[in-house]
Amino acid sequence: MTAPAIEAVDLTRRYQLDGVAVEALRGVSLRIDQGEFTAIVGPSGSGKSTLMHLLGCLDRPSSGVLRINGVDIARLSDAALAELRNRTIGFVFQSFHLLARTTALDNVALPLVYRGLGRAERRARARAALESVGLGHRMDHRPSQMSGGEQQRVAIARALVGEPKVLLADEPTGNLDTANGAEVMAILDRLNAGGGVAVVLVTHEAEVAAHARRQVHVRDGLIERIHLRDGLAEDGAS
């Protein structure tokens, strides 16, 4: 078997709020294998987003070890971390986070700017990514000229354009209606099944979570249990 794409060992994350320490994560261990589809579920405030940010190298843990492709990120420089975010991980946010005055095509091409690719190649790749999410006809639209579902698909195209190993999506359907949500999930399914991209998503909705082979239940900063679709249960505290 190949090395896990992401491996977290006993991660904790403490926040200081007015001198009081808030423990958002209290020791989480989790493995994300290549090509896997995982859903993270749990009540509000349980630490799901905090965990996602750690997995995506947007934040550093207070303690514990995080390995991406087998490399401990604690030892990585800012530039090396940036490269990881750029090449290995694709992020999709609940609130899209598109640049407002920029076209769909340029939004999607943005990660490639930081890879130092030339304009022509960036545009070609961004076009292909937009077409793969069914937005070939929206290239020159700005976010304000698109529906929420379309904006989230642009955000997915942006996460895909760099051909990441892992796609991290924090409530990608949270701001969408059922139809648009279903469309977004169909895209994620296709990516995972067809493209071999590991998908990790946070959701509140059981239907959305049902797309995943594995559901990780988080409560109070700890993994409560892990539930596999095939009916088997993994030991959460391992």
């Binding site: 800012d78 986070h97 130092g116």
Partner: protein
């Protein structure tokens, strides 16, 4: 990983400035005004210096003015003890009598019929026209006989002739100078101003006549013409030494064009420097404005910065982005300021009495300083942007 392409970064920065057009222009305004001030004030300072140097050179070449007392800036003029006997003595010292001329000045009213003008009356001799290269336009200059026989004859500056006689030919006509009647024998060609005094508003009469008219025995000073630039210093030393021999304990000064140019040049150079420094302060204030706006911009675009980092931007990509924006603000402001400054200086030169001459060093300096101001004042906001934590930035609303 490859760095972000430089032109790419420039395009991105341009775009950011374009999006906030009004704010960018207002921010640039500080820099524009600063650079404009530097270019125009230095142009005026330099123009004044050029103009004064031109006027001094216009006095004639290789002239040594000998005056009693010690000449220094701010010192009151010394009471003269020199008389015509001393002029004869200096003529013997110099060797060539035609190389020495004399001056006795007084402001007097001159009248023709009912027309009265106030002019500078200068008592002098036949050598003035050669030493000062003062061409006579009409009639003749003063002659040796005029001086020896104390004739009441006058040579008019061109402006005096115009105001007194208009279109009439003044030669042979009478003018009343300080109550005494004089016959006009010549009119000088137009020569222009020195130090704001028009030399076309002078009347020259024989020095002997002037002494009698004004009731004084003394003269104000004398001028010696050197035969070449190399002779100026030794000759002025010889003349002042000879005069000190004659009047032990007295001081005499020789003023040469070179010395005058040097003194005035350094004073005006200092003035130009002060003007440039004042203008430079306004440029600095413009820089503080840039810094301020960049900090606001970083705060406003926190989420954008977080997103860019999440997508793979390194600290130094973000730092470069904001630094380029700041430098672009100040250099574009600098260029606009230079254009306006050059335009302003040309307009001042063309439409006002104030001389202005554009100097390339001031333009290069203004541009260099505005670029440096961008770097200097852009660094703090840009570093702050670069250090933003992606997750904090993304959660910020």
């Amino acid at each position: 990983m490859e760095a972000v392409n430089a032109t790419e970064a420039l395009v991105m920065a341009m775009e950011a400035l374009r999006v906030n057009r009004l704010r960018s222009v207002l921010t640039m305004l500080g820099v524009i005004i600063g650079v404009l001030a530097v270019v125009i004030l230095v142009a005026i300072g330099t123009g004044a210096k050029d103009e004064i140097e031109r006027q001094i050179s216009g006095l004639g070449t290789n002239i040594i003015l000998v005056v009693p007392g010690r000449i220094s800036l701010g010192a009151a003029p010394t009471q003269s003890k020199l008389g015509l006997a001393d002029v004869a003595y200096v003529r013997r010292v110099v060797g060539d009598p035609s190389k020495v001329t004399v001056s006795l000045q007084s402001g007097e009213t001159v009248r023709v019929g009912r027309t009265e003008v106030f002019v500078t009356v200068i008592g002098t001799d036949q050598n003035l026209v050669n030493i000062f290269e003062r061409p006579v336009g009409k009639g003749r200059p003063l002659s040796e006989t005029d001086v020896d026989t104390r004739r009441r004859v006058a040579v008019l500056g061109s402006e005096v002739a115009d105001r007194l006689f208009g279109d009439l030919d003044p030669i042979g006509r009478q003018v009343t100078v300080a109550g005494a009647r004089f016959r006009v024998v010549g009119v000088y060609a137009t020569v222009g101003q020195t130090f704001g005094l028009s030399r076309d508003q002078e009347i020259h009469i024989p020095v002997t006549t002037a002494q009698r008219l004004l009731g004084i025995e003394r003269i104000n000073g004398l001028a010696v013409g050197a035969s070449g630039p190399d002779e100026i210093d030794p000759l002025s030393d010889r003349v002042t030494a000879a005069l000190r021999d004659r009047y032990p304990g007295e001081q005499f000064s020789a003023v040469t064009q070179t010395a005058l140019l040097g003194t005035i040049g350094s004073v005006l150079g200092m003035l130009t420097g002060v003007l440039a420094a004042i203008a430079g302060i306004s440029l600095l204030v413009g820089g503080v404005g840039v810094s301020n706006i960049m900090l606001v911009s970083v705060r406003e675009r926190t989420r954008e910065i977080g997103l860019r980092k999440a997508l793979g931007a390194r600290q130094r990509d973000i730092l470069a982005q904001f630094l380029i924006e700041a430098v672009l603000l100040t250099t574009i402001g600098g260029l606009v300021g230079i254009l306006l400054g050059v335009g302003g200086a040309l307009a001042i030169e063309a439409f006002t009495e104030v001389p202005a001459s554009i100097t390339w060093w001031s333009i290069a300096l203004a541009f260099g300083v505005s670029a440096a101001v961008g770097v200097f004042f852009g660094v703090a906001p840009a570093r702050r942007a670069g250090r933003l934590d992606p997750v904090i930035a993304l959660r910020a609303e």
